[in-house]
Structure formats: C-alpha cells, structure tokens
C-alpha cells in the first residue's frame, strides 16, 4: 500500500467534495420528482447512489491492483446516474429550468472524479494475491455476505417503484459491479463459492424458503417470484439444450405450452374439453413426459441439421404448435383457451388458500412458490449431476466440435436427442404448474417472443450454469415490469440493456468456467 503525492489527489478530492455536497443538495426546482429531489439536506432518490459511488474515490490514495479501471468505473457510474437524472429532470421540468444547482454541482464533481481517475497510472491488474487466503471462518462469512448482498440488491431493487429511479439503480449496480470486478472481488468470490459450494447452496436455499415469511401476508412479490420460478425451471431446461449441448432451440416455449395444456386439460377446469381430474403429481410428470415425447418427435428429424438450420426449423415447429393450439377447437378450445383451471389440491390441502405456519399467515401464492422451489431444486439436481457426468461431458464435446465428438465415440444424434428430451421435460413440468398459477392457458402465451426471452435469459445469465439461468430469468421478468412507466420506450430500454450487457460481459452474468474460457484468455483453469 502506498500513498500518493497530495498534488495528484487535489483534483479528485475537489471532485469528491463537490459530489458529496451536490448529492446532499436539491436536484429539482419542482416538487414531485421521485426521491423528494426538490429538497436538500438528505440524499433522497438517485442521489443516494452518487453518494455511495463517492466511496470509489478511496482508490486515489490506496494502491491496489486494477485501481485505475475501478476508480474510473465508479466515477463514470456517478456521471451516468447524474446524467440520466438530468435528462429526466429537463424532460419533466419543462426545459433547463428543471434541474436545480445541486444536480449541476454533482455532475461537475463526478466529472472531476472521472478526470482524476483517467490520469491515474495504468498500474497492474488485480491479482489473486490481492485477496490472499483467509481462515475458514472469514471465507464462510464472505460467502454469507456475498449472498446477502445479492439478495439485498434484489430486495432493494424490487422495492423501487419509480421507473426512472430503477434505471438509476441499475446503472449504479452495474458500475459498482464493474468497479468490484476490476478489483478482483468477483474472481475471488467465484473461487470461494466453488470451495464452499454446499454452504452457499444451503444458505441460498434457506433464504429462498424464508422469503415468503418476510412478506407479512403480502402476496405481490410472492406471486411474482412464483411466476419467475416457472420461468426459471424452463430456463434451466433450455440451458441443458443451449448451454450444454449447444443446440439453439428457438421454439422451446412450445414444450412449455404442451405442459401447460396437459396440466389444464387434466385438472377438470371449468371451461375445458376434457372432464377428468388426475392427481397433480401425476400430471406434473405426465406433462413433462408428453413434452419430452414432443421433443423427440421434433428432434429426430431436425437434429441432423446444424446451427442456423436447427434454429430456423425449431422456430418453425414452435409456430406450428401455437397455430395448432389456436385451431384445434375440439381439444384446445382454439383462441379462447382453457380457463378456470382450479387451484391445486392434494389430500385436503388447498394450494389456493392462505395457510398459517409458525404464526405467519402465508397467502395462497406461497404454496405455488414452494412448489416452484421444489421443482427448481429438482431441476438443479438434474442439471448439475448430468453436467458433471459422462453425459454432460459428451454434450459439451458436441458443442465444441461435433466431428471430433463423433470420432471420439459419442453417438451425437442420440445425445442431442437426449438433451432435447430432458430440456422439453423440464419445460413441460413447469408448464403444468403454470396452468394452475395463471388459471388459464391460451395459445397467445406461447409466441416466438417468449422463446426468444427464454434464450435471452439463458445467454444473459450465463450459459451452462444454474445461477445464470436463475439470475437471467429474474432479470428478464423484473426488468420489463419495472420499466413499465416508460410505456412505449420500455422495449427499447430493455433492448439497450441487453446490448450493453452483451457488449461488456459477453459470457453472461454468471458464466461457467468453460464458457468464460471462450471469451477471456485469462480465465483460470481448474486442477484436474
């Protein structure tokens, strides 16, 4: 650790002071901007993010690996947050009269910080030695804190209702992660999580189970997460197909739809064509199996095709499913779909009703949430165990070089079919639960766009990993919700976010080790 000459610190010190002062001053000349921005004396709204990013200026006096890029990321984050809010203030305040002097002061401060960071010596990149081995207790604590920070960020983000503030939040999180990444924190955490995997999984599972108990009977977020859960199971299934076996399936949502129709038709819904009621556990498995059979039927002729051709043909099959569902009135009731799907019931336990547990009243959706958790857990077990077996290795080999895989003794067609069927099975299971969760099933839920979103969730989260699929589906579900007040600009912003992410992190949020190697030359290799 080395302290810089004071002269080198003058510029950023002035910037930091200006940014702190600006963040505590009013940013708006008019009332009503989210975060009480017309009032000074406290860092309301997006101003808080600026104040937190000032912490990055500590890097001007601490010499550590990757400091220049990290300091630059923090400063540019502040610039971006102030800039975005300035645009919104000008927009809503009717011109340049909208923003107050605090916003301009913050912008100047952030700019000075960025200039100071730019002038820092390039220095060395973060090295593993910057994060030396710690005693076990510290490592365990670090895993716990890391998970808590993740959950905290999710809960914090969910609680932000105003779209503009949510965008600021995303920018803040993005740049903070970039800064921490340059400091080598994530590399260290990745290694730690790998070493403490059991504990990380146990803690994550415990947090997921505890979540509904923290909502004090409020069903909203429990319901959202139950829906995300459905999406996540399908994303894990698609991750087998795309992430492991490397087969780009653009019609994947059809399998989800097959499961949903099976679930709806066998539940004795009020508006249906089939009047039977089959026990739910059987229906979940049946939905999965029917979807898997569809997967085999579609896969058998198409899996001889490669890359682009496969994508186009699967896209076609996805549309065929939707159009068939739309026209087969005798079974699917056409565009009306099956509706009035009753709540799940098992042995006198009604999944739709609120229940009391440990003195906490859980809304009906909590039951579905737990069903989803169980499905996700099962999907994770299947995914990770297959991945770490001769079957998973064969899939990855096929993705890397199909000819070499075949010459190495892998029956490529059979294994591709297997990947297709397993992915379809998972989507089918998720679909049956979704039929009950949404109480109706209709063809317009299974469009090409949904398939694309699922692929996006997998790619964005990180191909070939479970956390990637979970994070990707959460992001894809929450982002459009949160950006709702931008109305028609919503999809544009969403697209821009995807493009930015793919530009700066092409391997996805939580890539597998192998995947990271495809994009980064310096990715560490494991010991055998």
């Amino acid at each position: 650790m080395r302290l810089d000459r004071p002269s080198g610190v003058a510029l950023p010190a002035a910037g930091a002071a200006a940014l702190v002062a600006g963040s505590l001053s009013p940013w708006a000349t008019f009332a009503g901007f989210p975060g009480k921005m017309s009032l000074g004396g406290f860092p309301g709204g997006a101003r808080l993010f600026c104040l937190l990013l000032v912490a990055g200026s500590a890097l001007f006096v601490v010499d550590t690996g990757g400091r220049r890029r990290a300091a630059l990321a923090a400063a540019l984050g502040a610039v971006a947050v102030v800039g975005l809010n300035l645009v919104a203030l000008v927009d809503q305040g009717g011109g340049l009269g909208g923003p107050a002097w605090g916003a301009w002061l913050s912008l100047a401060g952030a700019g000075l910080l960025a200039a100071g960071a730019w002038r820092l010596p390039a220095g060395r990149a973060a090295a593993p030695d910057d994060w030396p081995a710690r005693p076990a207790s510290v490592e365990v604590a670090a895993v716990a804190v890391g998970l808590l920070a993740l959950l905290g960020a999710v809960v914090w983000g969910l609680a932000i209702n105003e779209s503009s503030r949510f965008v600021s939040f995303l920018v803040f999180v993005g740049f903070t992660c970039a800064a921490l990444h340059h400091l080598g924190l994530f590399t260290w955490l990745t290694v730690l999580f790998a070493r403490r995997q059991r504990m990380a999984v146990a803690l994550g599972g415990a947090a997921a189970v505890a979540f509904p108990f923290t909502q004090q009977g409020n069903a909203y977020w429990i319901r959202v997460f139950a829906s995300i859960g459905v999406f996540a199971v399908a994303a894990i299934g698609l991750n087998v197909v795309v992430g492991l076996a490397g087969l780009l399936d653009l019609g994947y949502v059809a399998f989800f739809g097959v499961g949903a129709y099976v679930g709806a038709l066998l539940a004795n819904a009020s508006l249906t064509t089939v009047h039977v009621h089959v026990p739910f556990l059987a229906v979940v498995l049946l939905g999965g199996c029917v979807a898997a059979v569809f997967g085999l039927v579609i896969g058998a002729p198409t899996l001889r095709l490669r890359g682009d051709y496969l994508a186009i043909v699967t896209l076609g099959f996805g549309e065929i499913f939707r159009i068939t569902a739309n026209n087969w009135d005798g079974l699917t009731r056409g565009p009306n779909g099956i509706s009035g799907v009753p709540d799940l019931a098992a042995g006198g336990f009604n999944f739709g009703a609120a229940h009391s547990l440990f003195g906490v009243t859980l809304p009906g959706f909590a039951n579905y949430y737990f069903v989803e958790l169980a499905l996700i857990a099962a999907a994770i077990v299947v995914f990770t165990r297959l991945n770490d077996s001769r079957i998973g290795r064969a899939w990855v080999a096929i993705r890397e070089d199909e000819v070499a895989a075949a010459a190495s003794g892998i029956d490529t067609i059979r294994l591709k079919l297997l990947a297709f069927a397993i992915g379809a099975f998972m989507a089918g299971c998720a679909g049956t639960v979704n039929a009950h969760l949404t109480t109706q099933v209709s063809p317009d839920s299974y469009t090409f766009l949904e398939s694309i979103l699922l692929v996006a969730a997998v790619v964005l989260g990180g191909m070939g990993t479970v956390p990637g699929a979970l994070l990707g589906s959460t992001a894809l579900f929450v982002l459009p919700e949160k950006l709702r007040s931008f109305q028609d600009k919503r999809l544009l912003l969403f697209g821009a976010a995807l493009v930015l992410l793919m530009r700066f992190r092409p391997e996805g949020l939580v890539p597998s080790r192998r995947r990271r190697r495809e994009f980064r030359d310096d990715a560490p290799a494991p010991a055998p």
């Binding site: 297959l386 001769r390 079957i391 290795r393 990855v396 070089d401 070499a404 895989a405 003794g409 055998p528």
Partner: protein
Amino acid sequence: MSPLLEVRGVTKRFEGLLAVDRVDLDVGQGEIVGVIGPNGAGKTSLFNCLSGLDAPTAGTIRFRGELLAGRPDRFTRAGVARTFQNIRLFPHMTAFENVLVGRHCRTRVGLASAIGRGPRFHREERESEARAGELLAFVGLGRLGGVVARNLSYGDQRRLEIARALASEPGLLLLDEPRAGMNAQETRATADLVRLIRDRGVAVAVIEHDMRFIFGLCDRVAVLVQGHKLVEGSPAEVQGDPRVIEAYLGAPTA
C-alpha cells in the same frame, strides 16, 4: 488368421473427383503401417472412410472380421480410433476432460445412474479418471491435465489427441500426419510414442510426408497416388521402387 483391418475396394467419389480409387489395405495385429503419397492423393479421404466420418462410395471395411458401416461412433466402439491432420480437440475443455470424453464409448452410466449417483456411477467415474490420468502420463502430459486444450503447445496438442483416441481402447489407431509442425526432436519422440502404442497391443496406421519418419517406423508402407494404391511393401521395397520415385518427382510435396 484374418488381419485386424481388411479394406477391400474402398472408393470415395466427390462429385466428379475420384479421391479414393478401389483401395485394398490390410493391417495386422501389432503392425505399424504407413500411408504415403503426394498432397491430394486421397490419404485423408481414405482415413475418413476407415473411421466412419465419410461413407465410402463403394467397397467394404472389415474390422476383426466384422463389417463396419454407419456413424463414426460405431467405428470407434468397434475399436478404430483416430487423430486429425488439423488438430480437432475440444478447445475449451482441459486436457484431462478431453481424455475423459474419449472414455465415453467404454462407459455405460445412463441418465438414471448419473442423476441418482449410485455406487456404480462413482466406481465408473473413478475408473475413467484413473485411466485418463494414466494415458496423459503415457503420452507425456502428466503434469498438464489441468491446462485448457487450446493453451497447450502444438506438439502437446497432438499428443493430447493421441491420448484421447487411446482412451477409447482401440485395436487400431489411425494417425493423420502426427508429426506435422514438429521439430526433429519432437518427431523422434513421436516415433517412440507410436512404437510404445504398438507395444500396448494397438496396431497403428499412419499418414506422413516425412520419409525418414515413415521408413524408420513402419513395418509396411502403402503409396497412394491420385486415389489408387500404387505400391505396397516393406520400407526397403517401397524406397527402391522406380514408380514411387517417379510419382514423387512428378508431384513434389512438402
């Protein structure tokens, strides 16, 4: 006793081009057979037929007396493994994982067992890992198991490809230009490695341009010119054959 590999009248036609023309070739147990010929003579095309990557237009391939046909994995399971002229490893897998993939057709764990993780799964996995480690050491990569394949040196990549092929427990190994791009010392090491492979009871058929390498290593050499087999015999016979000299002078090669 019939030979290990019996190739009869194998022909491969691409559009108008006759790449392999009615080739007969035998490889016996414990033999090292060389295949030489000018560039474009059809050597790789012949190997593609012998390993199932391409279906011959005509002709038959018997291995241990049984007819071989169909997809490449059936050839590998029957006991014919190969390496490629342009190295084809799984570039982002580690050396160790590459060899484990080669074990695929000799392992049986299915879906249920892989998900259930019973004792059979662990036993088979341990066995595969032990064999992969042994093979890496055998080809001289004992310390490089954890290195990602594409980060290995050129020579090491060629050795890794051989280890991966050997992992499928072949009776016959097809090597397509195994010393391409190697210096003299690495070439000698490769020749030694091929002999060691033969000593393990694996017959070898090898394509090479390096005459010294071929004539010093092989028990028998076949010369391909424009798809057909010009001469076949011991290194001494082939070296002295005027037709071979003419074929090479007519079409000089690297």
